[in-house]
Structures are given as C-alpha cells and as structure tokens.
C-alpha cells in the first residue's frame, strides 16, 4: 500500500489550515467553549457551507462528495490543530458513519443529504452508565408499542447529545442488538448537558422514556455495522488527536525559542533540545500510524482493524505525553488559565479516554493479531 498525501491533498490542507486559523483563533475557541452548546449553529453552518466539510466522506448518491477516510482524516487533523468548536465529530464521523454502515438504501437517502448539506446536526448514543465503549454494556431497550418502536433506558457520554437534531441510538431489541434514530426533540427524551472536563467537547446524558424511534438497518443485526463504526471513529479521532499534538509541540517549541532565562533562550539548553527532538519523534510516529490507519480503511486492508486500534493507542499516549511536556516547557505560565496550553491539554486528556484508552486499544490490537495468526 502506498500512502502519503498527493499535492492536491497538501494544497487542500494548507488552504484549510489558513481558513481555520482565521475562523477559529484561540480567542474564538475560548468564547464558544463558555457557551452551553459549545458551538454556534450559524457560525458552524457558515464554515461548513464554504468548504462542505460534513459532505466529504458521504457518497455522491446521498448528496456528499464521495471522498475517503484519507481526506476526512486530513480535515479532522486540521480541526484538531485549532480545537475547532463544532459538532463535526459527532455528526460527520459518529452519526454519518453509523448510518452509512447500518442504514438501508432508503434510510441513507433520507438521512444523509441533510448531514452532507450541514442542515442536520447528529450524534451517536451508545455508552451507558457502565462506561463500556463497545456494545457489551447496552441495556437500553427497544420494544414494540402501537405498531411502532419505543426506546427506554439511559445513555451517557453522548458527544454533543444535548444539541443534536438527530440521534442514532444503540439498543437491545428482542431480535438482538439494533440501531434506531430518534429526533432530538422527541417526546419522552430528557437531555441533560454534562460538565465536560474539556470545555471544547461537550457531552450529554440522555434519558429515554417511551421515545418513538425509527429503525436504522435490520433490527437485531447492528453488531457488525456498529463495531465497524467504532473502528472508523477510532481512526478519525486518532487523526484529530495528532493534529492537536503537533500544534502543542509547535507552540511549546516557539515558546522555548522566545523564553529567556540565565541570559539565553531556554531553547539553547541541550536538555530542552533533546526533549523537543523526542517530542517530534513521538508526534511523527503517531501521525504515521493515524495516516496509515486511514489509508488501511480506504484500501480495505486485512489489517485495517488492527491498524485502527494501533493508531488510537498511539495517539492516546502521544497526545497526552506531548501535552504534559508542553505544560512543563511553559513552566509556571503553562499552569495558568490565561495561557492556551491547558485547552489542548484538556482535549488530550479527554480524547485519551474517549472511545477507549491506550491499554484498551492495545489489547484489542493484540486480540486482532493473535487471531490473525
């Protein structure tokens, strides 16, 4: 497999980087993270309208642009660099991924164009109080009532769950594990926003009391499409994370070059130089893993699952370690609220655990390899 970015992709990356730097400076991030929603609908719609970001990986038949994970992950990496406050991951990765993997042709035609156009904000609700990232902990029930389906139970850690228009829900139906969609304002749905440690990514708790739901795909057959969605989401998140890690590393380097102590820049101390070299190594390795995992998904590589776990494990360790170094390099000011480092530190910490931490993914990778001989 050949993997690296084409010149067109690199050009897209640099224009996207300029655009996002302009639209999402840290000042804007700080303003939006203090809001209840965590983003502004109109602001995000305007950004999305200009670049069609939610449409990237949605096939043209459903109103999208039909690109692969390579392109979508590039977008996520750039969003991760600037901590863009937008419902992108929930909508274009989690929800769109579940719909693409599980939905029937008619469901895809009905649901995806709205997401591609940036009209529908969506998310996926699968984790419950037990805190498992796989389907094992699913207790929320789907039962038949009055010729339709109703959902009863609780979901938590739902990314942007308090603001989504459309929620894809993982449930236990009599037929087995199933996916459904419900409207954000459905009767019987109680949404509470949670206090998120990382204020740039908000989570919600959802309580379902006889909430009317529409099936997504074949009822009872959601295990495989759901698992696939988790793998893809892990790769997407890993790419978002390496973007943030690279930015942290660059900022810490710039600070070390500027900061004078004992009459010279702290960047001239060999210990600092060696630390920066190690940080670069670690971030570049994590980038390669994230890029390769995305390419594996696009190519339908046999190792795509193992590579997805590998990339997320690598990104989890690297992003947090880079954040720890970045605070340390800044010294006292790095521990203050006014300094921006903590914004990325918190994203690193939150992303480390979201979708499963490094140990979890290492174990899954080993199971994959052990199974593959």
């Amino acid at each position: 497999m050949k993997f690296s970015f084409s010149s067109e992709q690199e050009e897209f990356r640099s224009s996207l980087r300029r655009f996002l730097a302009d639209r999402s400076p840290t000042k804007e991030v700080r303003r939006l993270m203090e809001t209840e929603a965590g983003y502004e609908r109109d602001g995000w719609r305007a950004i999305n309208a200009e670049l069609g970001l939610t449409a990237i990986r949605i096939p043209e038949a459903y109103g999208g642009q039909g690109f692969g994970f390579g392109e979508q992950c590039l977008v996520l990496e750039e969003m991760g660099r600037v901590l863009l406050c937008a419902p992108y991951f929930a909508t274009a990765v989690l929800a769109a991924g579940a719909i693409l993997n599980a939905g029937t042709e008619a469901e895809k035609k009905a649901l995806l164009p709205g997401i591609a156009a940036g009209e529908t904000f969506a998310t996926l609700a699968w984790v419950e109080g037990i805190g498992r990232w796989d389907a094992e902990g699913t207790a929320l029930t789907a039962t038949t009532a009055n010729g339709g389906t109703v959902l009863n139970g609780k979901k938590t850690y739902v990314v942007d769950g308090h603001t989504a228009d459309l929620i894809v829900v993982l449930a236990q139906a009599p037929e087995g594990l199933s996916l459904f969609t419900v409207h954000g304002d459905a009767a019987g749905l109680i949404r509470s926003s949670l206090k998120s440690m990382d204020p740039t990514r908000k989570f919600a708790r959802l309580e379902f009391n006889d909430v009317a739901a529409a099936p997504l795909g074949t009822t009872g057959r959601a295990a495989a499409p759901f698992a696939r969605t988790m793998l893809e989401a892990a790769v997407c998140l890993a790419n978002e994370m390496v973007g943030g890690a690279d930015r942290l590393r660059e900022d810490a380097l710039a600070y070390a070059m500027m900061r004078m102590q004992f009459g010279k820049p702290i960047a001239s101390f060999q210990l600092m130089k060696h630390k920066q070299a190690d940080m670069l190594l670690e971030v570049e390795l994590a980038k390669s893993a994230a890029y390769y995992a995305a390419a594996s998904l696009d190519d339908g590589d046999d190792d795509a699952a193992a590579n997805a776990h590998l990339a997320k494990a690598c990104a989890s360790d690297t992003y947090l370690q880079t954040a720890i170094h970045a605070v340390q390099i800044h010294g006292g000011i790095g521990f203050t609220w006014d300094n921006d480092t903590h914004l990325w530190f918190k994203r690193a910490k939150s992303s480390e655990v979201l979708l499963g931490d490094a140990s979890y993914h290492r174990e899954l990778m080993m199971q994959n390899w052990a199974a593959g001989g």
């Binding site: 050949k2 993997f3 690296s4 010149s7 690199e10 380097l253 070390a256 070059m257 010279k264 820049p265 960047a267 001239s268 060999q270 600092m272 130089k273 060696h274 920066q276 070299a277 190690d278 670069l280 190594l281 570049e284 390795l285 994590a286 980038k287 390669s288 893993a289 890029y291 390769y292 590579n307 590998l310 494990a313 690598c314 140990s359 290492r362 174990e363 990778m365 080993m366 390899w369 052990a370």
Partner: protein, 418 residues
Amino acid sequence: MTEIDEASVRAEVRAWLESNWNPDFGLVEWRHKLAESGWGVPHWPSRWYGRDLPVGLVPVVEEEFKRIGAIGVAKVGIRTLAAATILEHGTDLQKEKFLLRILTGEDIWCQLFSEPGSGSDVAGAVTRAEFRGNQWVVNGQKVWTTSAHKAHWGLLLARTDWDQKKHQGLSYFILDMKQPGVTVQPLRQMNGHASFNQVFLTDAKVEPEFLVSEVGNGWAVTTTTLMHERRGADGLRSWAIASDRPGRAYDGEREEIRTTMEPYKWYPQRAGRVDLIMERARATGKINDPVLRQEIAKVLITAKAAEWTARRARTAQEQGRPQGPEGSLGKLASSQIARAAARVHTSLLGPDVLLTGEDTPMNGLLAEILVSVPATSIAGGTDEIQRNIISERVLKMPRERTGDTDKPFKDVPRNIVA
C-alpha cells in the same frame, strides 16, 4: 530525446536483461557487462556507468532485475559510500581507477574516520598527514573500522594543518590498505563478536593523486560520505539474502554475501528482533499474560509506526516533494524499539536470561539480543547526537556554543589524562 517514462524504462531494461543475463557468467564477468550497459547504477551519470535516470525510476529497474533473477552490481558494505563520495568529489583519474572495481565487487573498502579520541566528534580527528617529498605520510590510529582486514582501500580523514581551525585543517584521502604502514587488529565487543578493527597507521603512504578534493576541504567530503551513510543506513542494516538458484554467478554472489555479511551477522539482534516477539510469546504461552501483552503491543506499535514513518518519507521523496521531519527520525526510533524489544525478550526468556550461547533457546540468538542492543543507540551517531541534529537542523533550535572552533586546532584542549 524522448521523454523518460516508467513504461519505456521498464521495456528497455527488460529487453536488455532478456538478451544479456545469464546465470552461468562469472560474477565479476557479469558485473563488468552490467557496468558497461549502465543498468547496474541507472541513476549515475552516463559517463560513469549510469544512464542519468531520475532516482524515482530506479525501483522500476530493480523490479525487472528481481523478476528475471538477475544479480545487480556490488552494493553491500562501505563501497557504496566510497562510490557516492568519489562521484561527487573525485577527479576523473579517481573515478577511472575506482568506480568500476567498486561496482564489480573486486575491491573491498573501509572507512577510516573514527578515532579513539573522536567518536561523535569526528571532525576532532588527530591522525596526521604530512606532505614529505613527493607523497603524503600518515600517522595515527583509527577505530571501529569494519572490514579493515580485508579492505583494499580506505576512506581516510586526516589532519593536514594544525594551525587552521578544527574543520579547516582536515583533508580526505584514499589510502592503500595493503602496505606495510597499515596494521589491522580486531576489536572485541561486549557481545563477544569482533566485527570491527583498530587500524594503526605508521608512516603509511598516500600518492598525491589520491587526495580527494583539495587540502583543507576534508570536512566537506566527509559530510558527503556521512550523509550517504545515514541515508543508506536502512540498506546497510538490511540483510542481503542469497539466492538458492544454480549458476556460476549465483555461486559467486553467495560467496560474496557470506564473506561481506560475516561482520554484520549479529546486526539483526542489535535491532531487538521485534520479528521474533509474537512467535516467542506464543511458544512460551506468555502471550496470555495481560501485563506482558501490553508491553508487547507497545513495542509492536512503535515498530510499525516507525516503519510507516520511513515509508512516508520515502514516498514523499519518490514523488519529488521535500522530505518533512519524518526523514530524520528513523535512527532515534530504532534505538527506542531495540531497547523495548530487549525488555520484552527478557520477560519471554525468564531465568534463561542468566545463561548464554547454546544453553539458551534458539542456540543463543535470543541471549545475543540482550548484549547487542546497547550498540544501536551508539553506532552511526549516538542518540544524543541524533537529538542534537534533529533539534538544530529540523527544529532550528540554537546551536550549542563549542569550545573548539574559534582557535587553531593545536590549541584545543584534549582528553585529561591523570
């Protein structure tokens, strides 16, 4: 001239190989033919055994060689570095004399840079070359010289002017290794092998025409050699695999690989043998230990990520785009991987770590890993030097002030001997 494209290059080399390759040639005989054709080193200048082909198309030519099973020019060892250096800095006379016999494998080369007093600081060399009468006379000691005992020629860095500053007082020579003034002694390592040598130079002679570039320009030439060494580091470390096919040419190649690779036979062990981890974990049943599984996963993740990083750098280069920082990180990554792999192999070996040689599994190969890995973070530029290079050249961090470049080299402090 027609445009050079992949398809026409492929067709041309394939046609040439089909009408010329014959496994019953003698190895040297075949390589002479190959060198004349330009297909042995197609990216070299057409005047010197090449075809001026862009580097990006070399893999196409290599694929065709592989397809038909044809043997290429001699590539293993220091000779490739000698060729690259002579191509860039050598005189026509030097190219005439040396390049062909490098390609045919008739000459063996060694590199005489490191000294007991200058390892990481190669430019601190104190081996002395003086012009006396009509030739250069060399005195000093070199170390870590692979293949010195077999080499016909050595790439020699020596100091020719002690009144100049450190880097300006150096010159670069091609030294005839088969002369009375050159004494070679094996150097035994902590893992018991003796892959390297010490070379003692006592009034060794160099003809004036074997000075490379000009007097005082030795550091620039050395940099060329070192650059190629780093670039080709993966190649030097990779294992040359002999074909098992019948034919005189293959016989010759098998013999060549056997002798050339002899000093490198423990190199796979110094890299940590990541490739053996999973099979050993299964064989010992320790794959079911959840703690060890995590440690194994960490090594495998870093190894994969490093492999993909190298591939990313290579692809960028092949596409003619500038290499990002990913190109400079491989050496540092391999140290990290080797150490982590040695830790995992320790857990897998258990009490057998206490033993060595044939009293341990795989006839001592695993035990050899544990006492070979320390070389990885030292040989070819220590981790510390790699970090300096990365931080200064890639990250553009300030260079450290050194105490030896602002004065004549004769006034620079040397090791303190009590």
